[in-house]
Amino acid sequence: MRYGERILKEVMVLLGSRKHFVFILLGIFLVVPNIAYAMHIMEGFLPAIWSILWTALAVPFLIRGFFNIQKTVIHEPKLKMLLGLAGAFVFVLSALKIPSVTGSCSHPTGVGLGAILFGPTTMSVIGCIVLLFQALLLAHGGITTLGANTFSMGVVGPLVSYGVFHLLKNTGRPRWLALFLAASLGNLSTYVTTSFQLALAFPSETGGVIFSLTKFLGVFVLTQVPLAISEGILTVFIFNQLTVYSSNELRELSLLPKEHMHV
């Protein structure tokens, strides 16, 4: 993952400082027209060839994540409960459809916390399990779009969260800010990815992929902005609880310095 981590850092540098990011967010707020319903890609709404492609891209992450989880369970049984907590957090957040400024609803993903605790590929597996549950029992998302949705929510989102957190942590930013931005940007990037996936599958006849992309970004991203903020705050909140009650586990994961007393 070292190499991937470095690429992520480069990307973050290219995207500019977080001040710029705030302005970009504000820009999106002002420019994007007032439409939106959001969430995962619906069953049958991705042509077969794209379903196969995104599944193929998601599978390596799932395999790696599976072995990561196995390693945690076997070698660090103390962390099993915390792993369960990361999964439970995804379960809760992805079940909550929350109203947004666009007059429609979407839900957070919750994968940022686990990505920070256990690394991104572990969350690929957990994300995939939650998506499977929702596809089979809730007709939300779908089996044919499971690969694509796993790629956006289980691969890109956690990778971004993980990268942002470690990038900011290494530059000495306060931990709450690193956590907040990691979870928020992970959430947003999930839905940016969804927009890309739909735009690639449905390029506009006149405007091509770019035109479609702006359309889908308009649907997915604006609704997601307040939810991303909420997810960032909730992630900081849960992490605060962990620093109080599970400081040993966090030390084991090198997320708290040794003998650090949280105030």
């Binding site: 969430m39 439970a88 479609s212 359309k215």
Partner: protein, 102 residues
């Protein structure tokens, strides 16, 4: 990390964080009077219809919850299972920490 702001004692800070989330969530309900908040994926379907009018979904859900109420039941179940485990974890971790202190 909150050492510098001693007025932000932990419980108060956490309460503040949750309040912000609640405000963020509730604000649209008050600001956007008359919006339907029908949170489905219909809008994306509509955009697909505009971009590619001939597209027919080639697969449909294996099973769909019969009706809105059942669907919300299952969503609530999902959230309850998750929240239940989080509560269990915090209680468990707290008990463990207190036991270790003694």
């Amino acid at each position: 990390m909150y050492k510098k702001h001693s007025f932000l004692k932990k419980p108060i800070l956490n309460l503040f964080l949750l309040t912000v989330v609640i405000i963020l969530t509730a604000a649209p309900l008050f600001v956007l009077q008359g919006a339907e908040f029908t949170g489905t994926d219909d809008q994306a379907k509509k955009v697909i219809g505009e971009l590619n009018a001939g597209y027919q979904p080639w697969f449909s859900s294996l099973w769909e919850p019969p009706g809105k109420e059942i669907e919300s039941l299952l969503f609530v179940l999902q959230a309850a299972v998750g929240a239940g485990f989080i509560g269990y974890y915090i209680g468990f971790a707290r008990g463990k920490r207190d036991a270790e202190k003694q």
